[in-house]
Each structure stands twice: as C-alpha cells, then as structure tokens.
C-alpha cells in the first residue's frame, strides 16, 4: 500500500505540535506530495499517526523538506502508553526537491507511530507524505 493514501485505511493524525490551517497535519496522509504539513517554529516537532487497528509495519516512506534528524517510535494496542524507538535517521538536505527517505523497520505491529523531528535544516520543515508498507 506504499502508493495509497493512508487516510483511506482509516489512519489519522491524532496529534501535531504545529498547525497552520492552510497546511493541516491531515495533508500527511492524503497520499499527495503537493499538500503538506508545515511546522511553525522551534524544535522538536512531532506528529502521531493512529491506525484503526494493530498494523504490521516493515517500511516507512517519508516525503519531506528540510527535516534533519527524525526519530520514529511506535506503540501497540496492548501497551498503549509505552512508545518504543523503531528507527532514527539523519536525512540529507535537498535544494530544489523534496527529501525522499525509505526507512526499513522490523516488521512488527503498531497502533500509533510517533514522528519526532529533533532538528531541521531550516526554522520550518514540511512533511508531505508518509506511507507504510506491511
């Protein structure tokens, strides 16, 4: 389902630290890279995606701009209040195109994915699309 909008599977963004009503966090899950969520200043920044059920995750693909250091955490239905680090990555800077990063993870199940943007290459960073492969 790497090319499908996560929102059509009932996934939702349940928390985001920034909001510009022209660039809401739902834009991350609509499957389009034209629309984006834009952070509105200071780090860290985070958003949390909730799946309707436990979901198997083996690859996470992120389209973004000016994100530097990203950490991804997950939890499961069984242990809802405990987030575990799944992956941590330093993205390369791009000039005139989006950053595209595929992050392989262990294929375990998750109900929430938490994306923690620890630093950026600019004051403001954007996330255009997150997709997940089972």
């Amino acid at each position: 389902m790497i090319n499908t909008a996560l929102s059509s599977f009932g996934a939702q963004v349940v928390l985001a630290t920034s909001s510009d009503e022209n660039h809401p966090p739902e834009n991350i899950l609509d499957g389009k890279t034209e629309t984006f969520w834009l952070s509105t200043g200071m780090f860290p920044q985070e958003f949390i995606i909730r799946f309707p059920d436990n979901m198997k995750v083996s690859l996470i693909s992120v389209h973004s701009f000016n994100v530097k250091h990203l950490r991804i955490e997950k939890n499961t239905l069984e242990e809802a209040d405990k987030f575990q680090v799944m992956a941590e990555k330093e993205f390369e800077q791009t000039e005139n195109s989006l950053q595209t990063n595929d992050i392989s993870v262990d294929g375990s199940h998750a109900t929430h994915l938490r994306f923690l943007i620890i630093s950026g290459y600019d004051h403001f960073v954007s996330v255009h699309k997150v997709s997940v492969e089972a």
Binding site: N22, T35, F36, L38, G41, M42, F65, D122, F124
Partner: protein
C-alpha cells in the same frame, strides 16, 4: 490563522536593561524594576505578538540571559537553536556597545548557519545627557550586521515593544517566504 513560535535570545552586557526591557514588554508597561537585580542564568518569558492586518501571531519565547560573564557558559547551554536574536546595550556606556559584536557572534555560533533575524537595541534613551554612543554610530553598525536598530527606555516606557514586534514580524516574513518556496516543490 497560524501561530508561529520563535525562540528569542536576549543578550548584552550586565545591567544594560535586558530584564527591564523584556519585563516591560511582557507586562505591557506595568512593571519596571528600579533596583538592579542581576539575572543569574536564563529567565524565560513568553508572550504572543499579533501580526498587524492578519489573524496570525508569533509566540515569542524570550530567553533573557545573564550579562555577567561568569554565567555565560551555563546560559549558552540553554539557548538551543535560536529563531531570532536581540542584542542590547546602554546608550550611556560605550563599553556595552563595543561588546555587542561579541554577543552577536556567540549567538550566531548556535544558529547552524541558519538565517536568524535580529535587532540591536540602545536602551536607557532617557539618559541622553550622558550619551556615549551616537544614534548614527549604532545605526551604521546594526546595518552592517543586518540588524534593525531601535532605541528604548524601559524606565520611561519608551518604545519597549518595538524591538520585539519587529522580530516577530521578521520571523513571520521568513515563514511566508519558506511557505511559498515549499509550495513550488510538491
């Protein structure tokens, strides 16, 4: 509607009036501390600023830092990544003006090469009879560093909002520029 957040690093020599200025701004002129009470570390003040003619705002997180050299290192550890910078001197003290370039360098060392809007503030404009720094001198140096220059008097409640409003506005402009740029990428 958008609410931005900016980390504003406030620096300058001891006793130039950084705390007085930021407290006047935060309290809308209700609070001027006449007796000097040295800042030993960093004091955080938060205030939202509305951007004129929009429904948007910038929330300023002001890091009022100690001017005393003994605290400098501890202060720097708390700055994180600055969004905007405010360097203050006392117009009746040439020494405090001469320190500004060192203060600015210190903050810029934490900016990771990012463009960080800044202002230079000549405070204590009420002490004009003892003025040691001419307005044009300060203005010229500010311009050479890409800073906006403002003169204030925390004591007389003169112009205290101006430096912070101009920082908020500059950060807001930067946001709009970036937003437009990113819009062309997707």
């Amino acid at each position: 509607m958008v609410k931005l957040r900016a980390r504003c690093i406030l620096v300058g020599d001891a006793a130039v009036g950084k705390s007085a200025l930021s407290q006047m701004f935060r309290s809308d002129g209700a609070h001027f501390q006449k007796n000097y009470s040295m800042t030993a570390g960093v004091e955080l003040l938060v205030k939202p600023v509305n951007i004129p003619e929009t429904s948007d705002s910038v929330e300023l997180y002001i890091y009022d830092s100690a001017g005393r050299e003994t605290f400098a290192e501890a202060c720097e550890k708390m700055w994180g990544q600055p969004s905007v910078v405010c360097v203050v001197f006392d117009i009746s003290s040439l020494a405090s003006f001469n320190s500004c370039s060192r203060w600015l360098q210190r903050v810029r060392a934490h900016c990771n090469g990012l463009q960080v809007p800044g202002v230079l503030v000549g405070n204590k404009s009420d002490l004009s009879s003892r003025r040691e720094v001419e307005e044009t001198t300060a203005q010229d140096w500010a311009q050479s560093q890409g800073l906006q220059y403002h003169e204030t008097s925390a004591k007389e409640m003169e112009n205290c909002d101006a430096p912070f409003l101009s920082l908020a506005q500059a950060f807001y402009t930067l946001y709009q520029e970036r937003r437009q740029m990113i819009q062309t990428l997707g």
